[in-house]
Amino acid sequence: MERLPLGFQFYILAVIAVASGALWISPAAISWDRWPEMLMFTALITMAAMYPIPNPRGGYFTSTPMLFYVLLCVHNPQTALLVSSVGSSLGAVISRGWVPWRMIFTGAQWGLSVGLAAVMFHLSAGSLKDPGVLSLLVPLTLASFVMQVSNNLFVSGFHSWFRKTPFWGSWVVGVKDSLWSNFLSVPTAALLAMFFVSVHPLTLLLFIASFPAQRWATELYVQHRRIFGQAIESLVVAIDANFPQGKGHSRRVANMAVATARQLGLADSVVDGVEIGALVHDVGMIGLEELVESDDRDVAARLLEHVRIGAEVAGEIPRRDVVEIVLYHHENFDGTGYMGLRGSQIPVGARIVALAEAVESMIRAGLSSSEGNLDNAVIKQIRDGAGKLFDPRVVDALIEAARDDPALLRLSSDSPPPSARR
């Protein structure tokens, strides 16, 4: 196993210690007499944690939150903490393999989140005695919010070590991203909880009925996502083959743009759009190859047309963010670009790709002349351009990203794309 940074180890241990401490101080509160229910919850949570469901806006979520909501309605906070942490640990082991510290951390952080949510539910007078909007739906929605905020706190803490994302930014964005899907599962959870107490606990097994559908949807989603990736890759081959800047240009620009976007703390769904947009930003150049070689007088006009045609091609897929990157990647920050947009009028993805493309061409141009201190030369040049050609914030982010991963500024950066995780 790789050696983890010391601070990271402390963070993990702290989370685990807090979770165990919460159990330690009140062992008597756990309702062991209802052990069959607890066992059923644990089994269901384990199963749900095994099947991650794709989120159309990028990333994955599981259907465990719905079970957590039912759990915290029908049990006290301590029991909810214990059951949810055991269930998530087991699910994590089964779906992601045996890594002891990760297993315990996953369990501890979910346990804490669910425990806090349960406290919120009881504090806001949530009850199943006389279920209604004020007595059940509102407290459960508040609990859902608390769970979300707490879970994302731990997750963004975790990721800020790995992806070097800024902690606060990714926390806020993480909460925003999954807020609605979690709120949508609140009514179903309320219904299941009402059945649980007024009909029979075993009605919770109705939840299992949704597993085959979830699994099927997941498989098809992954398949489609792969084909979508293949389509983009073949497009990149087509662009590179028809482009004087040659092989690897699109991929290098995309890698740089993704690293910069992450540095800026943009949401996963935005980063995804930046990557696709960066990969296809020059799609309109197909068919213009001899034009670039010739020195025709209206080259400039035709080049301007390439962004328009490119945007038309990219417009085949229903993603406005990608189209905007293709259309506006030749805008300058001060408004002197192709279409004269300035500052924040230019979509942030287009600002990122514009800078990444400029840096990529500087590196390619500079490679022949000065091998020695290329990085510094590039950095000086984009610093000079900040505020005129480029967004200063984006410039800082790219320099920061290149400091963390110097390979970004190498022509040989055949490193796997940052999105290879998917």
Binding site: I53, P54, P56, D130, P131, G132, V133, L184, S185, P187, T188, A190, L191, M194, S210, A213, Q214, W216, A217, L220, Y221, Q223, H224, R225, I227, F228, Q230, A231, I232, S234, L235, V237, A238, I239, A241, N242, V280, V283, G284, I286, G287, E289, E290, I309, E312, V313, A314, E316, I317, P318
Partner: protein
């Protein structure tokens, strides 16, 4: 589109307008009970979940509210939901298509009326659970509604897409009927919950509706994915087309024409799907041919011609390893074979050429002739058809050209 088709769509739209106005009038004159208002309110999430089916048709959860309304209230609520839900669905999804919403409102309303008429003919009262004939009454109303919805959907597909009745039943028709039957069952459960628990029954009804919307989410996700996938293929095809003189939507249009031809030939739906993909991607092999050769205005020399003639082979090779595309790769390989055997790459003739390839060849030729090129203006569809007919039997399959003639009004 023929005259009967136009009349059919006009009737649907007119019914839609009447249904929506009628719905508004009902509320103004008679008011609405709390339960009725709740059911109408719940139509918003129910109509938001919309899954488009291939080749035509859709599934939403609005019928569940219609059935629940039939069981729990008087006829005005289901009629209101039927008239308004397509508009609501369009508004909530953010891409309203008013004309289609009108057609759908008309269809839903006619279907609800069919169900109600069937029941009142027989004389059962299903609105008092426990009464004699309650189950039979509801089943009759549901059967009436589902039958009418199915018939209208099939006729719409026939009229506007040229899909045969049998083909439609085996594709989208099945899904529509199965879903409506399931929604009717769910509605029975909901009505039971709502009436058994008094006021908190209303609360349960609301929760249960959202729960069903949530359960249907994966299917919506999938259908959205399917369209994204097709769009990404269209993007690749469009990009490859840039190597030629700029032809805009050529790939999409050629694909659509080929599909119309395939439908006119009454090919089975899986074959149509292959033709749709192949029509889109038929020139993808040009990725390996230099743009200078593709755009060269003068005659190509032997070597250049050989390169150019390899594009169907390259295209098929690109598609074969990709799961969803490998089925269609043969069609792409042979889309330059001529009916008399004078084509390339394999010199197949007549029935030896896959039917899909023969359809794509004609579709490609028609679209090429009817769009502007740098060296000539676009021809009219009638002129292009004359040219195709002249070469039927030598270059083109006469059956395919004949099929195209039948649907020439429908193609782009």
């Amino acid at each position: 589109m023929n005259l009967l088709g136009r009349i059919f769509l006009t009737v649907l739209r007119a019914t839609g307008v009447i249904a929506i106005l009628g719905a508004a009038a009902l509320v103004l004159w008679r008011g609405m009970s709390l339960l009725g208002l709740l059911i109408i309110g719940l139509t918003i999430p129910a109509a938001w979940l919309r899954i488009n089916l291939e080749p035509m048709g859709y599934v939403t959860l609005a019928p569940m509210m219609i059935f629940t309304g039939l069981l729990l209230t008087d006829a005005s609520v289901p009629l209101f939901v039927a008239g308004v839900s397509p508009l609501v669905g369009g508004l909530v999804s953010g891409q309203p298509d008013w004309i289609r919403s009108l057609e759908e409102a008309g269809g839903e309303t006619i279907a609800v009326l069919a169900g109600l008429l069937l029941v009142s003919e027989v004389g059962f009262d299903f609105r008092a659970p426990g009464n004699r004939g309650w189950v039979a009454g509801f089943v009759l109303a549901t059967v009436g509604y589902i039958t009418m919805r199915y018939l209208l959907a099939a006729v719409s597909a026939r009229v506007s897409q040229g899909v045969g009745f049998l083909t439609y039943s085996s594709a989208a028709g099945k899904a529509i009927v199965a879903n409506l039957a399931l929604l009717a069952l769910l509605a029975v459960g909901m009505s039971y919950l709502a009436s058994a628990y008094g006021m908190s029954g209303y609360f349960i009804l609301a929760l249960a509706t959202i729960a069903v919307v949530e359960a249907y989410q994966p299917y919506k996700l999938l259908s959205d994915q399917r369209s994204v996938l097709f769009a990404s293929l269209a993007m690749v095809a469009h990009a490859i087309d840039l190597k030629d003189a700029y032809t805009g939507r050529h790939a999409r249009d050629a694909s659509e024409i080929a599909v119309r031809i395939a439908r006119a030939l009454r090919l089975p739906e899986p074959e149509v799907r292959k033709i749709k993909l192949a029509g889109m991607l038929h020139d993808i092999g040009k990725i390996g041919v230099s743009g200078k050769i593709i755009r060269k205005p003068s005659r190509l020399d032997t070597e250049e011609m050989a390169l150019m003639r390899r594009h169907p082979v390259i295209g098929a090779e690109i598609m074969r390893p990709v799961e969803l595309l490998s089925d269609a790769s043969d069609i792409v390989r042979h889309h330059h074979e001529h009916f008399d055997g004078s084509g390339y790459p394999d010199g197949l003739r007549g029935e030896q050429i896959p039917i899909g390839s023969r359809a794509v060849l004609v579709a490609d030729a028609l679209n090429a002739m009817t769009t502007d090129r740098p060296y000539r203006k676009a021809r009219s569809k009638a002129e292009a058809l004359e040219i195709l007919k002249k070469h039927a039997g030598t270059q083109f399959d006469p059956r395919v050209v004949e099929a195209l003639e039948g649907v020439i009004q429908l193609v782009p």
